[in-house]
């Protein structure tokens, strides 16, 4: 039995310690906004924050997550979908199928928390998530717009 601090709540998870955090979040805790795309830390669909840092939860076993580490998922990013990135995403119609977008937004949120005014190079380095629909240019524009909005993280 592992105890996780997720979106400000403490939850008990009855899963094998080798279970990746992704599957504990999706199947045991029931938060399905975080997606499975590859399972080998390649695509970023499973990106969540661990103590504010973007991590790929499919490659992180439960045993590596301490009780007091704060996990943040897309569902906890803002109470009502008004994080500056979410606002920008809607204004620019960033998502297409949307499957990669939770991961995109979480990766972008971690970037803005660290660098509120990211350069293009910062964005290129931080956003290595895969989007098969090809929303990359709108993701970039959304990050820029959210950064101009001033607040982040």
């Amino acid at each position: 039995m592992a105890t996780l601090n997720i979106n400000g709540r403490s939850v008990q998870v009855d899963a094998d310690p080798e279970t990746p955090l992704l599957w504990a979040i999706r199947e045991h805790i029931g938060l399905t906004g975080t997606k499975y795309g590859c399972g080998i830390a390649q695509c970023g669909a499973c990106t969540v924050h661990l103590d504010g840092v973007a991590v790929r939860s499919c490659a992180l076993p439960l045993s590596a997550v301490a009780e007091d580490q704060k996990i943040l998922t897309i569902e906890g990013l803002s109470p009502d979908g008004t994080h500056p990135l979410q606002v920008a995403w809607r204004a620019l119609d960033v998502p297409q199928c949307g499957f990669c977008q939770s991961g995109m937004i979480m990766a972008a949120a971690a970037l803005l928390a660290e660098k509120p005014r990211p350069t293009d190079e910062d964005i290129n380095e931080a956003i290595t998530n895969i989007c098969r629909c090809g929303t990359y240019n709108r993701v970039r524009a959304g990050i820029r717009q959210a950064a101009l909005g001033g607040t982040a993280g």
Binding site: A15, D16, T19, P20, W23, R26, E27, H28, I29, G30, L31, T32, G33, T34, K35, Y36, G37, C38, G39, I40, Q42, C43, A45, T73, I74, E75, L77, G81, L85, Q86, W89, R90, D93, V94, P95, Q96, C97, G98, F99, C100, Q101, S102, I105, I123, N124, E125, I127, T128, N129, I130, C131, R132, C133, G134, T135, Y136, N137, R138, V139, R140
Partner: protein
């Protein structure tokens, strides 16, 4: 009549779980129960297309599938244009193919592919909207006792011009629904459109920014188990044996199953438990003859086809062979294009409840009707005892028009009757069990006269036919007409944009065992590379400007020429490019649309950087310019990913690439600036989801040649520019 609300996973049926997560309501599935529960309070259905709620919400029913391409919003725009309803209160819902079957296919064809979403349903949807408006207006006029001609409708409100009286749609919908639908439904002249052609925001963005959007992967039902299957990695192979006992005691494992002749599956409480057990399951496969096939053996078979005497003819003008034989000069080149996986972000999945009398499926599919047919067959039940409840797709690109994964999911669920089973493919399974972009090669020979004019062109394609595996009924005396997309003498699916005095385009069909399928852009992807890069070769070999050479062949093709001219002008063709930057062009027609691209690239120490792409599209009518921009940008990501990295190779009969580490795709940092020019010339409806993908690779490859003198003829590019050439 079966009501819609009882048989679809409606919003109402999405139950909030204790944790705040969304559960799919488990309430169905017998027809009996559905018939009984027709609620008296159900909002009136005005016609098959639309339900109007008392609070003025208008719900449009949709047969096409949303997979990111924006069809939901585009169809709603076309409907609202004619219905004159309040856009802010418009939403959509999926109809099921079972309902459609029961109502004589009132919603038309469910297939969402080939950039057909708008093209194939625009008329039926616009007429549905217009008929709704006419019936509502008539109902109001009757109530007022005035001629309908004195009434008009706007934003869901009907006004009588003489008296100024008004009625809301919701107030007259019950009466309107009793009227006989009008036989003659005139549509607006495009000049009068106010919603079509506007860059309205998508209807479905919000939930995709908060994690609330529910995909097939996310479905949960009470008592549900998760199955993870593995098929023989060699196509056509079968299961020889497997040792269920070795894993059946592992945590959470409920069943270890054989699935048909060629797959096994572990069913467990969770995906992770099922996958872990499956990875440990000893399986022996019988791979048969196909186990000896490799990319090398396939390549040899295609090489033979390049000069084989027999071939299917796609386009023939004059006598190209004779013209080339008598030409002053010959130019010749051979190109190749590999297998590629669709790799949508969401791997294949389906959730199934099977009982001996009923089978219900919740899944992402691009074709509800085909899914129903596949489901019924696998379920051993009539179609009337099955139904498909759709969820939005985490990408499709053609992969979800074919239902091999669904059939297996049903074969699994049949072995656990009455229990909801969510079958989920791993990414690895998705990679090796694809339905691949077909493999082809092409040998092009041009004959030139003393003035360097092309007197004859022979284009011999050798390789795999999609229809042979995907839809053999579409073959014409063995010939696959889809093979010649973009190279035909005419037609919406791809007319060649050049006139050659003598032309022969033919296809030596060579079908390896790896199943081929429709893949975003389909055969245009390689056909455009073959022709557009080869013409570029001819231009350079004869010291002609690539744009001027094309123009000299395009006098009879004004629409092709218009988009080409547009990109050439915008990119500044003929004026110097920025230092170190080189340009390339390409044009092609397909999916009913004319497209062209101009690319600016640089290559430094073997590293390609694509800086900028200008793309022009003439899709006849442009329904939503913002959506078109998104589709054009997306098509370049898909097309350039294919050109840069996309290759599935075969070893011992199986696909070698198993995940994104070996099947790489483009990332954000590699993405060029994209400028979209929309040139709707009117009078026809062209697609937008696919066409620009056709010109992505050839425009970039032609720019690469301009910059390096290296002609890349074998896809993908990979590290060819880093090798000495």
């Amino acid at each position: 009549m079966t009501t819609l609300d009882t048989v679809r996973p409606s919003r109402r049926g999405l139950l909030k779980g204790a944790t705040g997560a969304v559960l799919l309501g488990f309430h169905l599935p017998s027809r009996h129960a559905a018939a009984q529960s027709a609620p008296a309070s159900a909002p009136p259905e005005l016609n098959a297309w639309v339900v109007i709620h008392p609070d003025d919400r208008v719900v449009l029913r949709m047969a096409k599938t949303e997979m990111g391409q924006g069809v939901r919003t585009g169809l709603a725009q076309m409907f609202a244009e004619e219905m004159h309803c309040d856009w802010s209160k418009l939403s959509t819902e999926y109809v099921t193919p079972g309902q459609s079957l029961a109502r004589n296919r009132v919603w038309g064809n469910f297939l969402t592919a080939g950039s057909q979403g708008i093209r194939s349903s625009q008329e039926i949807v616009r007429k549905g909207g217009a008929a709704a408006r006419m019936m509502l207006t008539q109902a109001a006029a009757t109530r007022w006792g005035v001629p309908a001609g004195e009434c008009s409708a706007k934003d869901s409100v009907i006004t009588h011009s003489g008296s100024g009286r008004t009625l809301r749609y919701a107030e007259v919908v019950a009466e309107a629904a009793r009227l006989t639908p009008p036989a003659d439904v005139p549509l607006k002249d495009p000049q009068q459109w106010t919603v079509i052609g506007k860059p309205v925001s998508r209807l479905d963005t919000a939930d995709k920014t908060t994690g609330k959007q529910v995909y097939g992967q996310d479905l949960r039902m009470p008592g549900m188990l998760v199955a993870v299957p593995r098929r023989c990695p060699v196509f056509g192979g079968t299961v020889k044996s497997f040792d269920a006992a070795a894993v059946s005691g592992k945590p959470g494992v409920r069943h270890v199953l054989k699935v048909g002749d060629s797959a096994v599956a572990v069913v467990a409480d969770t995906f992770w438990q099922a996958k872990t057990a499956l990875d440990a399951l000893p399986v022996e496969w019988d791979t048969g003859e196909n186990g000896r096939v490799s990319s090398e053996t396939i390549s040899a078979i295609l090489d033979e086809g390049l000069t084989a005497p027999e071939a299917f003819i796609g386009n023939q003008q004059g006598d190209a062979r004779a013209a080339i034989a008598g030409a002053a000069r010959r130019i010749e080149a051979t190109y190749s294009y590999p297998y590629q996986n669709h790799a949508p972000m969401e791997p294949m999945n389906a959730t199934v409840v099977w009982t001996p009398t009923r089978c219900d499926v919740w899944c992402p599919t691009q074709n509800g009707e085909a899914a129903l047919a596949a489901a019924a067959q696998a379920a051993g039940l009539p179609q009337t005892a099955c139904d498909i409840h759709r969820v939005d797709l985490g990408g499709g690109f053609g992969r979800r028009t074919v239902h091999d994964w669904l059939a297996d999911a049903i074969l699994i669920a049949r072995q656990v009757p009455g229990t909801p089973i969510k079958t989920m493919w791993t990414r690895e399974e998705d990679m090796v069990q694809g339905r691949y972009h077909p493999v082809t090669k092409c040998r092009l020979v041009a004959g030139l006269d003393a003035e360097n004019r092309i007197v004859g062109l022979h284009m011999r394609i050798s390789g795999q036919s999609i229809l042979s595996t995907a839809f053999p009924g579409g073959l014409q005396n063995g010939r696959d007409p889809v093979q010649f997309q973009g190279l035909n003498a005419g037609g919406a699916e791809g007319a060649i944009g050049y006139t050659f005095p003598n032309l022969l385009i033919d296809h030596a069909m060579r079908n390896p065992h790896v199943p081929a399928h429709f893949w975003r852009g389909v055969n245009h992807n390689q056909n455009a590379i073959y022709l557009e890069c080869f013409l570029d070769e001819v231009a350079h070999a004869t010291n002609q400007d690539p744009l001027a050479l094309r123009r000299s062949l395009m006098a009879n093709h004004p629409k092709h020429l218009a988009v080409l001219n547009a990109v050439a002008e915008r990119i500044g063709w003929g004026s110097p490019a920025p230092a170190g930057v080189h340009r390339g062009l390409a044009q092609q027609m397909g999916f009913g649309s004319y497209v062209a691209a101009a690319a600016e690239v640089s290559v430094e120490r073997g590293e390609l950087k694509v800086h900028r792409i200008v793309a022009a599209t003439d899709c006849g009518h442009a329904v939503n310019p913002r959506q078109i921009e998104m589709q054009v940008e997306g098509s370049f990501v898909y097309g350039l990913s294919a050109m840069l990295y996309g290759a599935c190779t075969v070893k011992d009969g199986a696909i070698e690439q198993t995940n994104f580490d070996t099947y790489n795709v483009m990332r954000l940092g590699e993405m060029p600036k994209v400028e979209t020019i929309i040139l709707p010339s009117g009078g026809f409806w062209g697609g937008v989801g696919e066409p620009t993908i056709m010109v992505a690779a050839p425009a970039v490859l032609n720019a690469v040649f301009a910059g390096t003198g290296r002609r890349i003829r074998d896809m993908p590019l990979g590290d060819q520019l880093r090798q000495r050439g």
